[in-house]
Amino acid sequence: MSPEEGIFYVVAGITVIGALGVVLARNVVHSALFLILSLLAVAGVFVLLAAEFLAIVQVLVYGGAVTILVLFAMMLTRVRDMPRALNGPQWPLAAVAAGMIGGISIVAVLDTEWPGETDEATVVSIEEIGNLLFTNWAIPFEIASLVLIVALLGAIILARGEEGE
C-alpha cells in the first residue's frame, strides 16, 4: 500500500463517517455538523485527484455558504424544538433500497474494465480551467450565472412571503 493509498483510505473513511453521521444523527444540528465534516473530506478527495481548484471551491461554497445556509434555515424553522421522530416509517425499506443501489453500483464498478488508466494524475492549473470556462464553456457558464440569479430572486420572493404577512 502506497502512502497515497493510505491517505485515500483515511480521507474516504472520514467522508463515509461524516455521511453516515448526516443520515443517522438524532439531532438535526449534529447532522449539519457531520455534513460539514463530510464535505471537507470530499475536498480532500479532490486534492487526491489533483483537482486543487475544485477542492478550494468545495471548501468555500459547500463548507462555507451551503452549510451556513442550512443552519440558518434550521434556526428559522426551529426544527430542534420538535421532539418528534426524525425518521419516517419507511426507513427499513429505505435502507434496503439504498443498500441495493450501493451494492449494484459497486458490483458494476468492480465488474468493469476501465480503459486508459494513467499512472500519474495530470495537475490542472487554475489558469487552464479559467481559460476553458471562458472559451469552450462560455455559454453554459453564462447560463449557470443566469440560473444563480433566478434562484436568488426566487428564493427572496419565496422567503419574503406575501404582502401583509
Partner: protein, 102 residues
C-alpha cells in the same frame, strides 16, 4: 497511483448513504443535506473519470464546477421553499405536507 476503482466505490457508498437519507428522513432540511451528499458522490465520479480517462480535456472537472453552482442555487431555493412550508403549516416535515393525495 490509487486505482480509479477506489474513487468509484467511495462515490457509490456516498450515493447510497445519501439516498438512504433522502428516503428515510422526514425533515426537509435533512433530506436536502442528503441530496447534497448524493451530489458530492456525482462530483467525485466526474472528477475521477476526468482525471483517469481523459486527462487532456477537463470536461468532467468543469462539470463538477457546474454541479457545485447548481447545488448552491438549489439549496438557496429549496431552503426558501422550506421556510414557506414552515410558515404555512408550522412544520418542516415533508410527510406532513400531504394535501395532494386522494
Amino acid at each position: 497511483m490509487i486505482p480509479i476503482d477506489n474513487f468509484l466505490v467511495l462515490s457509490s457508498i456516498l450515493f447510497a448513504i445519501g439516498m438512504y437519507g433522502v428516503l428515510a428522513r422526514r425533515s426537509a432540511l435533512l433530506i436536502l443535506m442528503s441530496v447534497e451528499l448524493m451530489l458530492q458522490a456525482v462530483s467525485i465520479n466526474f472528477v475521477a473519470f476526468a482525471v483517469y480517462l481523459s486527462p487532456e480535456v477537463f470536461t468532467g472537472l468543469v462539470f463538477a464546477i457546474f454541479v457545485i453552482v447548481i447545488a448552491a442555487a438549489e439549496v438557496g431555493l429549496a431552503l426558501a421553499i422550506v421556510l414557506r412550508l414552515y410558515r404555512n403549516r408550522q412544520t418542516a416535515n415533508v410527510d406532513e405536507a400531504d394535501a395532494l393525495k386522494w
